[in-house]
Amino acid sequence: MDEHLDSIALDELRRGEGSAAAREHLDSCEPCRAEADSLAGIVQALRDDDDQGRPVVPPEIDRQVLEVARRRAASIRAHGVIHRHRWLRPAVGMAIAAGALLSMRLSFDALPSPGSRAEKASGVAVTAQQTDLDGDGRVTILDAFALARQPASPSSEIEDERKRSVARIADLAVSVERGA
């Protein structure tokens, strides 16, 4: 395995899953180990709740998410397409690994509701960035699947929000107005 591991593979290894080849690569690749350590730290930080049981998103993650969003928006404005960059991996990893936790901060509430054409029309630019979790430049069922695959949160509120977000991403993926 010559290519570096993506965030999904790193998260699988963190959970004790993943292929032997991926594990072997991780053991021999310093950059990937650094990313794996970073991911583990993020996940651990997100497990801490405030006094009302709500997840606490560390300020550093907030800052990184905003920075990624700015850079990605700039890239889209400059090139008109969504590119997959290595620097996006920590953010994608955060979004995937933290799953529903981050979804609240990423304002999935801003996603259009199924069937709302006006909202879809006005929200495509925003939702394309927020829902393209695998960074392939499209919103497909694989993005919904990536969010659904994440370990369940002990918080029913967060789990409900995650399920709604999964359904919204899936609805966007199959929209005949927007396409994939």
Partner: protein, 159 residues
């Protein structure tokens, strides 16, 4: 009103006969009349080529005004028995995107029916008009896989 009654009768015949494409008798229509609308079911079969199928997204396009997709139901495998995601606004038109995923550990790794489309058509049997485009497919870990998709007439119907 009569057309609705007739559509229901045809649908009943379809269910009774189990042969969707021969359910409506062409002889019932006057020879000079426009082709009658008929109802049929088309199975969507996916072969994940030996990999576990965890997610798929497929576009089906009729590219014809003589075919309308009017309903979607789930497949045969337990992991894909629920109807897939689709845009309700697509019903009544000739193009639809269906998609589903499963986080189950029991996933199909051989050719299986993942969905059934109900179509309303006239003039030509539906399978000659439908085109399929695989937009995405993935296995258990979310990594993309290749799949082969085939549309067949449900219950042994012909093209």
């Amino acid at each position: 009103m009569w057309s609705i009654v007739r559509a229901c009768l045809i649908a009943g015949l379809v269910a009774f006969n189990g042969d969707t494409l021969s359910a409506a008798s062409p002889s019932a229509a006057p020879p000079s009349a426009a082709p009658e609308w008929r109802f049929s079911a088309v199975d969507v079969l996916v072969d994940p080529l030996g990999r576990d199928l965890a997610a798929y997204q497929i576009e089906v396009d009729a590219e014809s005004d003589d075919l309308q997709i009017v309903g979607v139901e789930g497949g045969e495998h337990a992991s894909f028995r629920e109807p897939p995601y689709y845009d309700a606004a697509a019903l009544g038109g000739g193009r639809i995107i269906i998609a589903a995923f499963s986080t189950s550990e029991q996933l199909p790794d051989v050719r299986s029916r993942v969905a059934t489309l109900h179509v309303r058509w006239r003039a030509e049997a539906p399978l000659s008009k439908l085109h399929v485009d695989v937009q995405a497919a993935a296995t258990t870990d979310g990594s993309p896989i290749k799949i082969a998709v085939e549309l067949v007439a449900a219950h042994g119907g012909s093209r």
